[in-house]
Subunit: 337 residues, 2 copies
């Protein structure tokens, strides 16, 4: 690879001049400017980002931490992040944490040594003190999708309003005539699942439908645990006429269980999901779901992160945190009647 000195000597100027024309920070005589540009062309010169990073203290790289890129919603979010990053000259490093705090911490440590400019995090579960510490240390950071209640107002967050979204979903179910609505309730450690649960409860209450604990299936060991619970709940004396799931993958399991016991969807029971992942439209019947704007969540996160990076660059510190609450969208397909 040719370096700045090669270009400089070819153009008959000094390295500083080359640097100046390339960065356009300072005026350079038009004639020499042209000569430099020509030399750049001829040598197909590309500045060494590493050297620049070392000098400037910023790497033009951001890091996205997710539990696993294999989980349905993260590819969408990640793609949103990557698109805006790329358009702004940033590269994105992918970190899968498996929700393991140790892995997460190790990653953070490693990223710091690379002078990573910022983090987009949708990884941690309960205790996120190391994440909070990161912001406290001055690293631009945005929490996407997952966050703790106490982080509100203190960290940059991009998410939907899970309470309201679930509320609207369940209300839709009620409006369309369902009275016995079961819930596939995801892991309670996650704030957004608790919010979806709250939304479910509130919609029930507002709709004049009694809450029945027998109808709430609480996740024990992964999504698969809903298979058995679904069948149990359907065998109740008074089985549900609808099942609201707090994520689409859970809906797939529920539908599976339903199908295997000969229950027809939506004739016998409606199923309403939450997320709208890629395959929600591909299952049979196509899943009605509360759609999160996943790609947009990623894009907005990245935009916010870049905003923080620029702000910090100019002011030496992070801007006040802002929270983005994105709109959900009820997508009615054929799993609800």
């Amino acid at each position: 690879m040719t370096n700045i000195k090669d270009v400089a000597s070819l153009a008959g100027v000094s390295a500083s001049t080359v640097s100046r024309v390339l960065n356009g920070k300072s005026y350079v005589n038009e004639a020499t400017r042209q000569r430099v540009l020509e030399a750049v062309q001829q040598t197909n010169y590309r500045p060494n980002v590493l050297a620049k990073s070392l000098k400037m203290g910023q790497s033009k790289m951001i890091c996205i931490m997710v539990p696993s890129i294999q989980n349905s919603i993260f590819p969408e979010i990640t793609r949103g992040v990557e698109d805006v990053a790329r358009k702004n000259g940033f590269s994105v490093i992918l970190c899968n944490t498996d929700e393991d705090t140790a892995v997460e911490k190790a990653y953070i440590d490693k990223m710091k040594t690379r002078w990573i400019d910022g983090f987009i995090v949708c990884s941690s579960i309960g205790d996120a003190s190391h994440i909070r510490a990161l912001r406290a240390e001055g690293f631009p950071l945005v929490l996407v999708n997952r966050f703790a209640e106490e982080d509100i107002g203190k960290m940059d967050i991009v998410s939907v309003d899970s309470f309201q979204a679930a509320y609207n979903g369940v209300k839709y179910l009620i409006t369309t005539g369902h009275r016995r609505i079961a819930l596939a309730y995801g892991r309670e450690e996650l704030f957004f699942y608790r919010e979806r649960y709250r939304g479910y409860c509130q919609a029930l209450a507002d709709g004049g439908i009694p809450y029945d604990e027998a109808l709430v299936m609480r996740e024990t060991s992964g999504s698969d645990s809903f298979y058995g619970m679904t069948q149990e709940v359907m065998r109740l004396d008074s089985p549900p006429d609808a099942i609201f799931t707090t994520s689409d993958p859970k809906a797939f399991v529920v539908m599976h269980a339903l199908h295997d016991m000969g229950v027809r969807i939506p004739r016998d029971v409606s199923v309403l999901g939450f997320d709208n992942v890629n395959l929600s439209s591909m299952v049979e019947p196509p899943l009605s779901t509360v759609a999160q704007p996943l790609y947009e969540m990623g894009a907005v996160s990245a935009k916010n992160l870049l905003r923080q990076i620029r702000y910090k660059e100019q002011n030496g510190q992070l801007p006040a945190p802002v929270r983005h609450v994105l709109e959900v969208n009820l997508v009615v397909r054929r799993s609800t009647r």
Copy 2:
């Protein structure tokens, strides 16, 4: 962040000594070694990877280029890559190309300026001259899943044997009594789809079943185009009793079309997919499919890439290319009878 000089002065030694104990390249007096280690502890010192990279000419970063992380098979492959990269101290940069050669080239250019140590590519379609050029320039590189015939023997490749895999899949269909086997044939520009087509033809021939062009559905505009084609083919005077699809997403579309016209799977027609993506087991009925070891393909690619990187480090040039052909595995679920 504290740097090597801080540690050095705290330990009362020179920077080189600190470097030496940290890299273990050269012997250091045990006593001073301990003092250095202690200073490292106290200051929580982490070497600046950027500076090291600049000096050493290698960044400990690899790049994975995929059409889009949103496409079903790539999260799996990417995860395989990332896991082995991480275990070996490498970070992975994610690049989505949308199969756009311009984007791909721009990315390659950018990655070079970051001193990326190597590339894992499953992106390009027909003309991959810029990819070949990359290897010719001495960049470690492995093609995964996608490659052109002419690359065999010249590039490092990780894939399955698409011909054999398809052959076995179709043979299975024949063995289980199917006689009219339709094919959902993916984009012919892709070598592996052509190979799967060849496997289909050969299995038919070997099974004494006449090839019928009316039964091969050729992709026109994305996977969705199989919806209409499936319905057409089912309305033939002599409709198929099985449909082999060259990828799982196509199978989902086919199943959908089938369902919408009241055809029962597998009673009326069997469906056999290819890939075994995450959701193949979640659809109804669960999809029988020729399973590619996607995660493993990623892992093997990364291992090979690291091998190349190490070899180059020691010998100044790339090792001879090796090709890994991984085993597929026929997963029989309930979409075939």
